[in-house]
């Protein structure tokens, strides 16, 4: 396999990881919530797409119009019902880690009970196809997933950059107190941002449903990877999550080709260790204030 081929596969994988990680980093950036259940919600969305595919023959790319709004509403409802209880706690972030860890277990348990632990995958025709360019091949399933991810990420960026609510979200990410002082209703902004973070999980779920085989407990593997690349990019930085995802996916793709597939997951954690030793705040992270 040529180096260009490895690079292409790495970038396609990275595109999907970037979408999976964007919601996670958004929740941390705006609300200081570390959502350990993020990947579990992605698996739940994948199941939703799977059942739409199996039951009604709906293409997973079309099922986005279901998973995204459903998860947006679900996210806002979760935020409003659960988080006010721990808001204002001096250990808020730590508490969200424990709480979402619990969510992850509950979700995994429910999915295992009702959906069983069998490997699932939606199989639209393009998922098994590839575009051949000379001696390069581009798997169409991954290509479509990466393109769709890019569309969502650009939409997210445009929302943050050009809308009034987006300004409110960005302001809250940069300085929550200052945002409050210029009149941003941070509770409302947080609710919307939580919904958006979950909507991104909903989108990622529909895409992975045809990119990776999945089963309820698969989320642990993903959340570990997502956390490592979010920390690497800088917690709360969207740019960091995207750069981290693309960079690490490409590196792991090379490791997998040249050293061996079993070593690929180690890439993420190795890079994480290195980053924490050299620059603990991550590539684009803010230094913690003393």
């Amino acid at each position: 396999m040529t180096q260009v081929q490895v690079l292409i596969l790495g970038l396609l994988l990275g595109g999907v990881y970037a979408l999976m990680a964007s919601g996670l980093t958004l929740l941390f950036g705006v609300m200081r919530v570390v959502n350990l259940a993020h990947a579990a919600f992605i698996v739940l969305a994948a199941f939703l797409s799977f059942f739409l595919w199996e039951g009604a023959g709906i293409d997973p790319l079309v099922s986005l119009v279901v998973t995204v709004p459903v998860f947006f509403l679900l996210g806002m409802a979760i935020y409003r019902t659960v988080f006010p209880r721990i808001e204002g706690s001096p250990r808020f972030t730590e508490m969200t880690v424990l709480m979402t860890f619990g969510f992850a277990f509950i979700l995994e348990g429910l999915m295992s009970k009702y959906f069983t632990g069998i490997f699932r995958q939606t199989k639209p025709p393009y998922a098994q196809d590839a575009i051949i360019l000379g001696d390069l091949y581009v798997p169409t399933g991954q290509l479509y997933a990466a393109i769709t991810s890019a569309v969502f990420l650009v939409a997210l960026w445009a929302f943050l950059k050009y809308t009034r609510t987006g300004y409110g979200v960005r302001a809250t990410m940069q300085n929550r107190d200052a945002a409050q002082l210029v009149g941003v209703d941070v509770r409302r902004v947080s609710t919307v941002a939580f919904g958006m973070g979950m909507a991104l999980a909903g989108a990622a779920g529909a895409l992975i449903s045809f990119v990776f085989p999945f089963y309820p407990s698969r989320h642990w593997q993903w959340i570990a990877i997502l956390l490592s690349l979010v920390v690497l990019g800088g917690m709360g930085s969207l740019k960091g999550a995207v750069v981290g995802a693309l960079g690490l996916a490409v590196i792991s793709s090379f490791v997998s080709t040249h050293i061996g597939a079993v070593w690929a997951p180690i890439t993420f954690f190795g890079a994480l260790f290195l980053m924490l030793m050299v620059k603990p705040e991550g590539l684009f992270g803010k230094k913690a204030r003393a």
């Binding site: 001096p90 009034r164 960005r170 300085n175 409050q180 002082l181 009149g183």
Partner: protein, 250 residues
Amino acid sequence: MALLEVRNVRAGYGGGPDILTDISIDVEEGRSYCIIGPNGAGKSTLLKTIAGLLRPRDGDILFDGESIAGRRPDQVLATGVCFVPQDRTIFPQMTVRENLVMGGFLLRDKKLVEQRVDELMGRFPRLAERSSQLAQTMSGGEQQMLVMARALMIQPRLMMIDEPSLGLAPQISNQIFDIIRSLSSEMGITVLLIEQNVKKGLDVAEWAFVLDLGTCRFEGSSAEILDDPRIRDLYLGQLAEAAKESGDAE
């Protein structure tokens, strides 16, 4: 009727003790006030409570005759009360201009926001020079200037400023005090200022409230307060306490 009336307010943080035990003050429109008092007197807590960052446990706060106690910060701001806290709350990764635009978040009218940003750039040439620079790259004095200019975006009637000179070189803090003076003298904004440097604070403001242990002990014109022997006692008293405590610790 006073512009701002604080009536028997009691407030504190989380489940902690009362920081403000029972405080009442009246603020008249168009004048400038300084709040002084030893550390822990409740000066910052008072401003945070008025700004809506802290909910009073008891008592009432009236602005222009209307109760604003317990409202959200954005709702308090919408009435024309703005707060400039002591930690230079800028948006670090936004440009100076974007920071000012954020100050007009409540205005909703893009044209009006642009117009006011341009006005403020005219008033603060230093900010105009740095218009497209990221706010985090500016000096402490410039950041303080930016936060005050940002607060002016909504054309507030009352501006509360907490220790604007904290950590600034004397020359820079003098510039900041000049700006604060011009707020009331040129723009007719009512100013409520906290200043650790009592002399400086009294020099800028016309009237002073002296806080201790969460209540307003006494008030008076700046000239009166400056000569009041009780002021020395208050600060010296605290020093004596501190000396005693550290003595106990040993």
